[in-house]
């Protein structure tokens, strides 16, 4: 018995030591764009999109596990490997697409900041530039790593959705049924429906996550030997992200969709989902949570994009370098923030629409990034005995095929 307990304890210690990459990535994944997308999905389609959750989470676990494994085995970042195996031109095109997509994601994060403060009547012209400045300085001055834990703990906010979802007395039977079977009420020949399905997948399995997770695994120096613990971390993170996503959709379906409020245009609409839990404080809770989620992701997205691009293109990168040593790195990082926040300065900026649109774009880019990952994961010279098993390949290729089919169908039914 004693022996067992010791083993259990050492396992726990091992897990806590590597808790981080997988769990952090999963939490950042539920960013402002994620909250917006899940909320809009719940309000617009009620329970009828819940069927996407289980396959998406399965795909998420598979994709994230592949990225983590690749990082642990090779010790290299995803864009490094793509460059080494597929050459400069392919890498360049992929990086252009990644910058464009991540840019919209960054705009979405700042839109999250803007809409959170909109609830209190504070102008976006004040908060967005301020948030941009905070993010920029925090990362460049290296204070980010100490703030990360605050962000992470504040992510407990997501539990509010779970509680609120329960308190809203949803139709459990309908919700459960819709989770395991696809309700036939709406067909695939509907542009809005397809758009939403792609956005849901795109927000849950965002392309930037693969680059970020793999980089974090490498940065942490996780090797094959400690990999078992990292795998657990990744899986727990993905499941947590999935449960939160499910409850956001259910909470929004139960509070908004059932009362005929189908369109979420502002944060005030989305905040209604927290009313069963926080009644008149729902705004406050929602605003705080959205602000934390936005700032958390906004601190990670631009820097992770700058790293991925510079590493792929062989340019100097790293916060330990001076500005004149790694000019492209710092310029790209700075521009992503400045131009990202700058987009919010446009008057009548459709906050929630852009947040969801960025996730749709994630969904469109996902299969392309995935193809590279799967090909690399099957390269025996690179991965040795850690190449993909057949099950993994089936899930991964199926995800690629489904996402491309959905995109083509969406364009077709437009």
């Amino acid at each position: 018995m004693d022996f067992l307990r010791k083993e259990w304890r050492s396992r726990l210690v091992l897990f806590l030591a590597v808790v981080g990459p997988g769990f952090i990535t999963a939490n950042v994944d539920n960013d402002a764009n994620g909250i917006a997308t899940y909320s809009v999905a719940g309000a617009q389609f009620g329970y009828s999109l819940l069927w996407t959750m289980i396959p998406t989470i399965v795909a998420l676990v598979v994709v994230q596990e592949m990225s983590a494994r690749m990082g642990a085995v090779t010790g290299k970042g995803l864009s490094d490997l793509i460059r080494e195996e597929f050459g400069l031109r392919t890498t360049f095109i992929l990086m252009l697409a990644l910058v464009a997509t991540n840019y919209l994601n960054i705009v979405g994060e700042f839109a999250g900041v803007a809409s959170g403060f909109e609830l209190f009547g504070i102008s976006k012209y004040i908060v967005v530039p301020l948030a941009a400045l905070i993010v920029w300085a925090m990362v460049v001055h290296g204070t980010y790593s100490s703030v990360e834990k605050i962000f992470l703990s504040a992510s407990l906010f997501y539990v509010a959705y779970v509680v609120s979802g329960v308190l809203a007395h949803p139709d459990w039977k309908a919700a459960a049924l819709s989770t395991v079977t696809r309700p036939a009420s709406i067909g695939f020949r509907n542009y809005g429906y397809l758009y939403m399905v792609i956005s849901l997948v795109g927000t849950t399995i965002a392309p930037w996550m693969q680059f970020y997770l793999q980089a974090s695994i490498v940065e942490k120096g996780v090797t094959v030997r400690q990999y078992a613990a990292s795998r657990l971390d990744v899986i727990v993170g993905c499941l947590f992200a999935g449960i939160v996503a499910w409850f956001i959709v259910v909470a929004c379906a139960a509070t908004l969709h059932t009362v005929g409020k189908y369109n979420i245009v502002t944060a005030a609409d989305a905040a209604q989902a927290l009313r069963p839990l926080a009644s008149e404080y729902a705004y406050l809770l929602f605003a705080a949570g959205l602000f934390n989620a936005s700032l958390f992701a906004a601190s990670i997205l631009p820097i992770s994009t700058a790293y991925a691009v510079c590493e792929g293109l062989g340019l100097e990168s790293g916060l330990d370098k001076r500005f004149d040593e790694a000019p492209t790195f710092y310029w790209l990082y700075t521009l992503l923030i400045v131009v990202g926040a700058g987009a919010l300065m446009l008057p009548r900026f459709p906050l929630f629409r852009v947040m969801v649109a960025s996730q749709m774009l994630n969904g469109v880019l996902l299969p392309f990034v995935l193809v590279f990952i799967v090909v690399l994961m099957n390269d025996r010279e690179l991965m040795g005995e850690h190449v993909n098993s057949r099950g993994y390949n089936i899930v991964a290729w199926a995800t690629v095929a489904v996402m491309i089919a959905l995109t083509v169908a969406m364009i077709f039914w437009r």
Partner: protein, 412 residues
């Protein structure tokens, strides 16, 4: 003599003696066993499989390759481990830029073609790591080649001459065949090598530490970031790491082994020479954050009756680190510390002068003195070295200023 880029040649049509296109260039190989920079073969993909094209058959090389022989005479291509394939092994891969002291990614390779008698010689002259090589490859085929050349001429080149390039190969057998020895790298200052190594992925780090000279490896290891140091030590096999640890200063070796799991450090100690092992084992017993945990047991001590000449003799025989050379300690009966003579005073005194006459009041601390107090003593007395004495006043070791600086920096 003219320059041609690897990316121009890859995919270039190959015309045989009759002028007909017989295939396209797929790879370019160098056989380092025969010649370090000369291109050995072009590997050409033809309708009839892949063929070796020997350089003696070449008439011109560039966006089109012309040969003097008939395609039927080209030998069938057989893959081999012992050759460097420029596209696979060099293009888009990371290399070490010895001159710039960093790790860079190769955008293109510059070859120099020289006509000799009736054929061509091709040599690698440099790797392109700048925008010019990148733009050349990105726009290849998208615009006419003369427009591209005119555009590229306007971009300042960023190339690394081939002699300043160290390749990274993780397979030890292949490293031998390709004659990769990190000779350029090993000539750099250990602190620079450490910076470079930190930028490499783990398997490549291991490759460097497996290959370079033990003494250089030891000094480099001391300079590495603690986390990376640990992972390097864990990845190397125990014979190799024991060889490296033997070359380290005993205090640094003790620090390093102290950070490892006991099982691993025991394994390494077992592989070490008895003498070095004993020194390190002694130090390992002291608490890490005390004077004893920071001290080295390699220092120069002379009897109090000695003269300057004796001290110089001792200096010549000394094998410890240079930092420990700054002071010669004087000991009385029973190895008790009685004085200290700075190296400078020895250097400017006559050979016969008594060391005890040159001695200055010495500063010493007990083995269990905390690190903070050690640093305070260095600050207060402007020390370069500090003696550590046991409860009987016997000299057991010294602490050098560089260790104190490291200690202070790591705390922040």
């Amino acid at each position: 003599m003219s320059l041609v880029a690897l990316s121009e040649m890859l995919g270039a049509p190959v015309r045989d003696a009759s002028g007909a296109v017989r295939g396209r260039v797929r790879e370019i190989s160098v056989a380092p066993q025969e010649h370090p920079t000369r291109i050995a073969h072009l590997i050409v993909r033809t309708a009839d499989g892949e063929r070796f094209l020997s350089l003696t058959d070449l008439k011109s090389a560039g966006a089109t390759v012309r040969t003097t022989t008939d395609a039927s005479r080209w030998e069938r291509y057989i893959p081999s481990d012992g050759v460097l394939l420029l596209k696979r092994d060099l293009l888009d891969q990371q290399i070490i830029d010895i001159h710039g002291r960093k790790v860079v990614r190769v955008n293109d390779v510059e070859l120099e073609s020289t006509p000799v008698n009736s054929h061509l010689l091709l040599n690698i002259v440099a790797v392109d790591v700048g925008a010019r090589g990148a733009i050349r490859r990105l726009s290849k085929g998208l615009m006419p080649s003369f427009t591209l050349r005119a555009l590229l001429d306007k971009i300042p080149p960023r190339v690394i001459p081939w002699e300043y390039v160290d390749l990274i190969e993780t397979d030890p057998a292949r490293r031998v065949k390709l004659k990769i020895a990190y000779e350029g790298l090993a000539k750099l200052h250990p602190a620079d090598i450490a910076n470079i190594v930190e930028d490499l992925p783990p398997a490549e780090r291991e490759a460097v530490f497996e290959t370079i000279d033990e003494e250089v490896a030891a000094e480099t290891l001391e300079e590495l970031d603690p986390d990376i140091k640990k992972s390097v030590v864990e990845s190397l096999d125990k014979d190799r790491i024991a060889d490296i640890v033997e070359e380290m200063d005993p205090d640094a070796a003790a620090d390093l082994l102290g950070d490892l799991p006991e099982e691993r450090s025991g394994e390494i100690l077992k592989e070490m020479q008895p003498e070095e092992r004993q020194e390190v084992t002694q130090l390992l017993e002291f608490a890490e954050h005390t004077a004893a945990g920071r001290m080295t047991t390699e220092f120069i001590a002379a009897p109090e009756t000695a003269v300057v000449d004796d001290a110089i003799e001792a200096l010549k025989r000394f094998e410890g680190s240079r930092e420990a050379l700054a002071t010669v300690y004087l000991t009385g009966p029973g190895n008790r510390l009685v004085g200290s003579v700075p190296l400078v005073r020895i250097a400017i005194s006559s050979p016969g002068a008594q060391l005890s006459d040159l001695s200055e009041p010495y500063v010493a601390c007990a083995p269990d003195t905390p690190e903070d107090e050690v640093a305070a003593l260095f600050d207060k007395y402007n020390l370069i070295t500090l003696a550590v004495v046991d409860e009987h006043g016997r000299l057991t070791g010294i602490i050098t200023a560089d260790d104190v600086i490291t200690m202070l920096r790591h705390r922040h």
